[in-house]
Symmetry: C2
Subunit: 212 residues, 2 copies
């Protein structure tokens, strides 16, 4: 079982603060995500700036693409993103089109997706999914539970590299022990910490201690 990656999600409203935060922890984390909020606020320039800062990191554009797969994917790839996200309710032609333009496409799981759909995505050549606890659902009282973990395992069993995100803390990582999680994604778990460098390092240390 490989050691899971740590991914920082930059969900900032302004490029300036995103840059400020990522330069503290960019060398510690494995993957940098240009979050949806940042994409919508600052556009392709946000991807370009992060790529300029970290020429060798995997960068994800969290576009949650729902349509116009070719154009959206071409644009983020041109900006310097390696991977891109698509929303689970995108049609298969949209996913297929996007897949051709980026190194890897990640399907982001919200709402009423099914494992049957997931099999279709896999057949299409999609290797990654993101199991996402909605921020708003978390705020409304939802949290990680047995049902979530079973779903994550089912996706791993289908062959996907599965990223998990939503309300993750260093303490919740052990919930996933024994599971072949590909990546843990956190945003404010790092950027919102008093000491982001310490927070990122603690995530890395705990991941290594469980999976290393």
């Amino acid at each position: 079982m490989a050691v899971p990656n740590l991914q920082i999600a930059l969900d900032h409203n302004e490029l300036e603060s995103a840059i400020q935060d990522v330069m503290k922890v960019g060398d510690i984390v494995d993957i940098i995500e240009v979050g949806t909020i940042l994409c919508l606020q600052e556009g392709q320039k946000a991807i370009k700036c992060i790529r300029a800062m970290y020429p060798n990191k995997i960068i994800i554009a969290d576009t949650k693409c729902a349509d116009a797969g070719t154009t959206v994917a071409k644009n983020v790839a041109e900006g310097g993103a390696n991977w891109m996200t698509a929303i689970c309710s995108a049609t298969l032609p949209t996913m297929e089109a996007a897949l051709k333009e980026v190194d890897e496409l990640q399907v982001e799981l919200y709402g009423d997706w099914t494992l049957e759909q997931a099999k279709e995505w896999y057949k299409l050549g999609i290797s990654q999914v993101i199991y996402h606890q909605s921020r708003d659902a978390l705020l409304a009282g939802g949290s990680w539970g047995k049902k979530d973990l079973n779903q994550v395992q089912a996706l791993i069993d289908l062959g996907f590299k599965v990223s998990v995100t939503g309300g993750l803390t260093v303490d919740t990582l052990k919930l996933f022990k024994g599971m072949d999680v590909h990546t843990f994604i956190t945003g404010r778990g790092i950027t919102g910490a008093k000491d982001p460098v310490k927070a990122a390092s603690e995530f890395k240390t705990e991941i290594r201690s469980i999976w290393g």
Copy 2:
């Protein structure tokens, strides 16, 4: 039955060309949409520029919001958008959060949504849905048919203001005759025409001729 609106979707890769195109037809159309591609490429600035050009038009930010409803909606409202789109696979808490920050929220219908879900959105206070023929699905050979028209009518019957989009031409408008469509959305049907002013005017004339 009210006369349906005509909405132009600005799905440009650059702000410059979007501005160039919209200033030709902005006074003819009823609603201006800052499309997903433009939002992702140019950020909030795109909304601000279009608002500066058209202080009194309804402007839609086609974010296809899937999460972080409060933040995304606050940001587009701050940019000057009146309405915003959310993807149908967003959770109800996300939609509810977004709804508080914009004048109206439009649920964009992709993939396997159901009328049961639509009833939940309506209960939440969401008044608009967008029936969307995926650009990629159209490219893959799909088109408007009886099934689509029945779905649109079912949504109207539920009480929604329904916008329709995807491969619309002046000639296809008559397919919707007798239906209380709220808005027809077209992008390249206008911006891709040899004479965009003529194209927009022909859309308006045909809409008035059928529904006027």
